[in-house]
């Protein structure tokens, strides 16, 4: 695997070079202990030690609202709308990359989602080995502490001012060398990166599933009638916050609006959430998941079983965002899966 050594002081020039072609987004401190990806500007302080970005990265591939069709009301004609803003995401943690590669698989299956891949193909991802972990996260126990695909470069901070950078794609290497040649990584640098990864994994295990994550679908298929769903959902506000912050939630609604002229308009998709009360409502008023507990169960079944059955991976990457976002303190996949496993373990 090709790898290079990059010094911290070389980064501003690299970011400036990339900025000529891409909207470069980096992790930045928002205050109060929150971080998020924000556009890089000269002089920006990159938060290398961020624990988790407040928002997931799905917005770069599937924005909260995205125009898909432009139409003319009078002539009744319509044409597709695609956007592909060149974007470079620098400093993405492995669990977020895992979420993106899951979305890639789900958006490719059955019918290729053209709008998603229009944006996706224009995004370059530079991974970063985590230096901190959110107190709500459990990614190392769901196999999301490291990824072997889905990135163009993989950065690991190996010293106060040094990075070991592994090449993941030709595009990544081209961008890395765009501001001038770099020294190839030494054996020592590789060893330092390996140690940093070991440290990240250890850090990531401070919260964890009590069992091998591969067992999750088997635990869930026995848990349909568990009292956990009702117990937890009693407090659910059906606000959909867990859906919004989740890096693997992608359900959407399709709506449209017309311009003031009333002649033209656009149809767009907008994030929706299976926790919202009207999500499964049909014409005539029948609601297929009218109860909060039914919706709550559906969400965890989807993360732990339905997605797993489709792609062989847990549909939860353990980022812990939903745990933070839930005002009722009921959204916690780690706690729920562990509780169900405890309930079921003597039956298995």
């Amino acid at each position: 695997m090709t790898a290079y050594t990059v010094q911290m002081e070389q980064l501003p020039k690299l970011c400036a070079t990339w900025s000529a072609q891409y909207g470069v987004h980096v992790p930045m401190a928002l205050g109060n202990g929150f971080y998020d990806f924000a556009p890089w500007r000269p002089g920006a302080e990159i938060a290398f030690e961020y624990d988790v970005a407040y928002n997931s990265l799905k917005r770069f591939f599937m924005p909260p609202r995205e125009d898909m069709v432009a139409f003319d009301v009078q002539s009744c004609t319509a044409s597709p709308v695609f956007a592909a803003p060149p974007t470079l995401l620098f400093g993405v943690h492995p669990y977020d990359i895992k979420a993106v590669t899951q979305l890639d698989q789900l958006m490719e299956a059955v019918s290729l989602d053209q709008n998603y891949f229009s944006r996706r193909d224009a995004v370059v991802i530079f991974a970063l080995t985590p230096l901190a972990v959110a107190d709500t996260a459990f990614w190392a126990s769901v196999g999301a502490d490291k990824v072997d695909r889905g990135y163009d470069l993989y950065w690991t901070k190996t010293g106060p001012g040094t990075f070991h950078v592994e090449v993941g794609s030709g595009k990544g290497e081209e961008l890395l060398l765009a501001a001038g040649p770099l020294p190839p990584a030494t054996a020592g640098s590789r060893e330092a990166a390996r140690k940093a990864q070991v440290r990240a994994t250890k850090l990531g295990l401070s919260r964890k599933l009590l069992y091998d994550w591969h067992e999750t679908p088997h635990v869930l298929e026995r848990s349909w009638n568990s009292s956990v769903w009702h117990r937890k959902a009693e407090k659910c506000l059906a606000c959909g916050s867990c859906n919004i912050v989740c890096p693997t939630c992608y359900c959407f609604d399709i709506r449209e609006e017309v311009d003031e002229s009333l002649k033209t308009g656009r149809r767009f998709r907008e994030w929706d959430g299976c926790m919202l009360s009207g999500f499964a409502l049909v014409a005539g008023g029948h609601n297929f998941r009218a109860q909060a507990a039914e919706r709550y169960r559906h969400r965890y079944m989807r993360k732990g079983k339905y997605i797993f059955d489709k792609i062989g991976e847990l549909g939860c990457v353990g980022c812990g965002r939903c745990v933070r976002a839930c005002t009722s303190k009921i959204a916690d996949p780690c706690a729920i899966f562990n509780t169900l496993w405890e309930e079921r373990r003597h039956e298995i």
Binding site: F71, C76, F82, N115, S118, D121, F252, D253, R255, R267
Partner: protein, 277 residues
């Protein structure tokens, strides 16, 4: 980077050819695609109809696929924004059509068999696509029965066609209403009261049923009690289809998407799904 020109979200232009009332709220619409092509649907499939500026909604195709006919029919109840806007259109108006989407009734499996079609309420609309297909190929099928249940006599749809059909002798037609009025001389009661009256041979009968959510479990229980195997029963399940492409998540039944894995399911395949029936 390749530039994209195709989007499955862009409807095909279509023209409203005619409309005729079927009941107070239900209207039959005939459409053709503007590209001069056949819709090429199969019995049980649905389309997404767009009225630009109002929205898009899913509807079952009510006509049978006919090779040399470019017309397809939708029967739609005026109940929401899209259906209200549709009801205000006149012949010649343009709409957008996506699809057809989803699975269909496996008519080839029905060949040589007796069939029992069970339609509750507006379920007759998609059942009619299958029924008319079978009637066009009448000799290929065994004994045909159709059970139709409606809430009240004034909500009955396709009444003339159904009367003609019953008189033709091609199909055994049994009808009932839940709540009769003074004009109603027929059966009274829910649709399950009809099944014992139908002359079906449980060992050789294939069943297709579409109706309101509450209908399925009662009719399915009755089928089971009669000895009709779940392998020979097909149900079409309504959910809130939005994208039609298995992506948006609204029509999920446990791990399945009703828009691509359904709406027509062999009952045996979904019997164990908690959210199906």
């Amino acid at each position: 980077m390749k530039s994209r020109t195709f989007s499955p979200y862009v409807p095909r232009p279509a023209t409203l050819i005619s409309k005729s009332p079927l009941s107070d709220l239900v209207t039959l619409y005939e459409f053709t695609l503007d590209n001069g092509k056949n819709l090429a649907h199969k019995p049980g499939q649905f389309i997404m109809l767009s009225i630009y500026g109002v929205g898009e909604a899913p509807f079952s195709v009510s006509s049978a696929p006919v090779k040399d006919s470019l017309v397809f029919e939708l029967a739609v109840r005026r109940i929401g924004t899209v259906t209200k806007a549709l009801s205000e259109l006149e012949a010649g108006a343009k709409v957008g059509i996506r699809g057809p989407f989803g699975t269909s009734f496996p008519v080839h499996e029905f060949v040589g068999k007796d069939t029992l079609l069970v339609a509750g309420g507006l379920g007759y609309i998609p059942i009619r696509s299958l029924l008319h297909y079978q009637l066009r190929h009448r000799q290929e099928f065994g004994r045909m029965s159709v059970l139709i249940g409606t809430r009240s006599p004034n909500e009955r749809i396709f009444t003339d066609q159904i009367a003609e059909l019953a008189a033709s002798g091609d199909v055994e037609v049994l009808e009932t209403v839940d709540v009769p009025d003074e004009t109603w001389k027929g059966n009274v009661g829910v649709i399950t009261t009809l099944l014992p009256k139908a002359g079906v041979d449980p060992q050789n009968t294939y069943v297709a049923m579409i109706g309101p959510p509450v209908m399925y479990k009662f009719v399915l229980r009755q089928c089971r009690d009669m000895g009709i195997s779940s392998e020979r029963i097909w149900v079409s399940l309504e959910r809130r289809m939005k994208c039609g492409l298995g992506k948006c998540g609204h029509c999920q039944i446990n791990n399945l998407n009703a828009c691509v894995d359904g709406p027509v399911f062999r009952y045996m395949d979904i019997e164990s799904l908690e959210e199906a029936i």
